[in-house]
Symmetry: C2
Subunit: 533 residues, 2 copies
């Protein structure tokens, strides 16, 4: 029997468990909603309303739901758990929490039960606006070098703003927080046990959300002190553990957790990874040079490379950030599926089905209608949440189909801009793979992407890319003896790749691709004007 790996994919509302064997066969799948969902109105057992922008979670949900989902997947696979050789975990990020030295979440201590800031903060918790502003102001004033890796801006949803929010707003909680950590790292710690000093932190979460890098570590004590001496103290003493890349083993499953999940004690567990980033191994891509485009409400485009390069406008460059031994680049577009849903509602349509036929018959350039799809700001390359969307070139002869094509073209031009920036920055981009929900709901957008990139795009069939990616990482953590794989590339290809003859390829149409050369140049000149104005 081929060895099996378990991938646990933690989303915002639920966890999915997938069992994939070394041949890529999906042996079983299960999922479970979190009992408390997102805590945005009140804490459990309380009537006190939470402030606006709060989004918390219940740590019990993670273990409870993971146990149910795993047992459900094992049942579907007809497995007693003995053939599961590794476990991988992907998690939303930065979802984070404070614990004591033993890893007990502070919200589970009686004295902090009613304090919202003792609870895990979900990635979308927006309570740290003032703290983010101050971190950015001080970093810019001091011209901190780490800013270059993040496009010049520390995000509202990242780790240090969330820690600082608690330090300032609930100092009694912060004083008791022996350990601050990402929820993905906390979950892995729960699985493998051990002292806080040896807990495994993921280079992925630390690199993309924690301002950490392999060469520079966390931001300097001097910078942190200039923000708040208590933050400097927290970073120095309350982030214990060892940094490891996803796919590197974090330890072995303890007996109590093994019983709870229905697995074998001692099963190797991989270091955690951010959910979107797990899609890279999840679509079978573990080599340098493939842009994996996770297309959903927003888009995340990830790429591995051999060499680290600082590319202007490319926000997230982390060594070992996605896979061990490779440099992971994360770029993104802030509104994709969201922007299309917005336009559909604006035009008073139930769906784009009818309009799509008309839109796809229009010539490239939508008869002069042009769009900037910055309705939710621009992530890569501008890293500016304040820029806004546009439709220009409008005449009385234009209709809804022109706006629809123009929006597809804007999204494609934004993608090409990212690709060109990477290439100009000496980061090779050689293949394109699309995954996520959107390519399966809206084939047209992938066709426009292919035309504008003038490149083939492979649409990956998986609807469970991140979960599969976590399983690949679990298999890697199991080691070559158990898995038979000598490398991450080998594992990813075998477990999540698509055979060349079965690939679903969208090819550029040469006439349209030709026309888009000029239109893209126009777009870039225009985007530059809009920015400077």
């Amino acid at each position: 029997m081929a060895a099996i790996s378990l991938g646990l994919d933690f989303g915002t509302e639920s966890v999915r468990a997938i069992l994939v064997d070394t041949t890529g066969r999906q042996r079983g799948i299960g999922s479970c909603q979190f009992a408390h969902g997102q805590l945005t109105d009140t804490l459990p057992g309380s009537q006190v309303p939470l402030p606006t922008g709060y989004a918390l979670q219940h740590p019990d949900d993670w273990l409870d739901a993971a146990a149910i989902a795993t047992q459900s997947a094992l049942h579907a696979a007809g497995s007693d758990g003995d053939d599961v050789v590794g476990i991988g975990v992907d998690f939303t990020s930065c979802t984070m929490l404070p614990t004591d030295r033993e890893g007990t979440p502070l919200c589970q201590l009686p004295q902090f039960r009613d304090n919202p800031l003792a609870w895990p903060k979900l990635w979308k918790h927006h309570g740290a606006v003032a703290q983010t502003d101050r971190l950015n102001a001080v970093a810019r004033q001091r011209d901190e070098s780490f800013l270059q890796r993040y496009g010049g801006t520390i995000g509202l949803e990242w780790l240090l703003p969330k820690i600082l929010e608690t330090i300032e707003s609930a100092p009694e909680v912060a004083a008791s927080a022996d350990v601050w950590l990402e929820a993905g790292d906390w979950f892995v710690w729960q699985l493998v046990g051990g002292p806080a000093e040896q807990l495994t932190r993921s280079t992925c979460q630390a690199g993309y959300k924690g301002l950490w890098s392999a060469s520079e570590g966390y931001p300097s004590d001097a910078f942190l002190r200039a923000v708040d001496p208590r933050l400097a103290e927290a970073v120095a003493h309350r982030l214990p553990g060892i940094l490891r890349a996803p796919g590197e083993a974090a330890g072995n499953l303890t007996e109590p957790l093994a019983r709870r999940l229905g697995l074998r004690g001692g099963t190797p567990v991989s270091t955690a990874i951010i959910d979107a980033h797990a899609a890279v191994p999840g679509v079978g891509e573990a080599a340098a040079g493939t842009l994996v485009m996770v297309l959903g409400t927003s888009s995340c485009h990830m790429l591995n490379a051999i060499e680290p390069r600082t590319v202007n406008g490319v926000a997230g460059m982390v060594e070992g950030g996605i896979l061990p031994g490779l440099v992971g680049y994360e770029t993104g577009q802030a509104a994709v599926g969201d922007a299309f849903a917005w336009l559909r509602r604006l035009l008073g349509l139930e769906s784009f089905d009818t309009l799509a036929n008309e839109a796809m018959k229009l010539p490239p350039g939508a008869d002069g209608v042009r769009c900037l799809d910055w309705m939710n700001g621009c992530r890569t390359p501008l890293m500016d949440a304040t820029v806004r969307g546009q439709f220009t070139g409008l005449s009385l002869q234009h209709g809804p189909a022109h706006l629809y094509l123009a929006l597809m073209e804007a999204s494609a031009f934004g993608l090409r801009w990212i690709v060109e920036l990477l290439r100009e920055g000496d980061v090779p981009v050689e293949r394109f793979v699309a995954t996520g929900g959107l390519p399966h709901h809206n084939r047209h957008i992938v066709e426009v992407y292919a035309d504008v990139l003038n490149a083939e795009i492979e649409v990956h069939p998986s609807q469970h890319g991140p979960a599969t990616g976590a399983a690949v990482l679990g298999m890697l953590a199991a080691g070559s003896q158990a898995s038979g794989f000598q490398s991450i590339a080998e594992a990813a290809t075998a477990m999540a790749g698509v055979a060349p003859e079965q690939r679903d390829i969208v090819r550029p149409r040469s006439g349209r691709a030709q026309a888009y050369q000029t239109l893209y140049a126009d777009y870039r000149r225009w985007a530059d004007v809009v920015q400077t104005w």
Copy 2:
């Protein structure tokens, strides 16, 4: 019994006759469709298709329909015609035709019956594209001073391009054209008779559509020769007559025409006026300083002033162009009702009724959505048919109501730009009167106009502004003895004005007007950037 004047208002499809007395009472109204309508497909009695862009009319229709409409109005008024002391005529423009020396339209001569270019060309006839291009090219190359009065561009629908089209495409017709003239002038000539040398041409039509001015006359022989020597010959010898302002008497009704219309022979007839321009006296405004805004699918804003001024970007400045003794300025916005209808269709709406409530509750500036309403180009001040519309500042939180308010604001900003240009050019603008169909269908747009102008706007109740204006001009032509009016202002106020206590005034709301000061400044900076880019 108060003396009565007849106003004849010639539109594109029909003529309206209105009888208004010196107290402003509307005594009778009648109308009649043109039997042949617009000739766009074939000539009467022919199967030969007309070229694309052709739009001709049948001269018989004008007299036939006017006779029926007048008799219908007289019947409604219970008048035998003896109490009608004057006749005024407004007409579409530049609707023009070639005639022989007696005024017989060439299309009524057997040898030209089947030649489309011998027929009257309707204002919207677009057969002279090449001729217009050449006229503009030569005028620009020679830096002709008359261009300044027209914003730098000779229009496709104007008199000289239409003459040149016939000269080039049907030289045999042009050779027989003893007289080229506007249809309004032709109709007045039919009413009063007399030799061609003494026919009355309107300074309104000649000034706005014929490149004529009181001080410079028609374009110079040298310019015309540079275009085509035959055009120079036509302007020198085939435009006979005497230029008079609307409201000045052109002559007296002949007995044959009196019988045909059911009026008294010898009744004074006013010089013709363009239909839109007749709205100025038609809403009771005959003094300098009132901007009369005719709001329809597009908008025409007319203003009389004491002094002639060359204002950059203000296209039509004609001495005696609207009323005798005053300088008429004509400005316009290319898409108003048209743009709103376009947006309504784009948003998939049957009407704006529901959306309007939501839109009018939004703060000035539509939560950051901005619009340029150039979906049909920009008339004043850019005189550029190639510029296009925009919506910018779009975010996922915006909906149809934001776009609707933004479009109303764009239209209002465009209007304010025109007003400020006039004022900066030392042309006083003191009052605002709105007329046309739009203010009666869409009150909200007038409210936004008032806020943005920070000025009261009077909505004139008349649905027949141009016809009433023609009647005012007819009364003026009748002379003070018959009418009792010593001035055009007196006549316009008495016959078409609204008593102060009955005026429908839309007042600016001070909070919103304040906010629009800043927003307008932003709009102007933005419009400048868009132009230069």
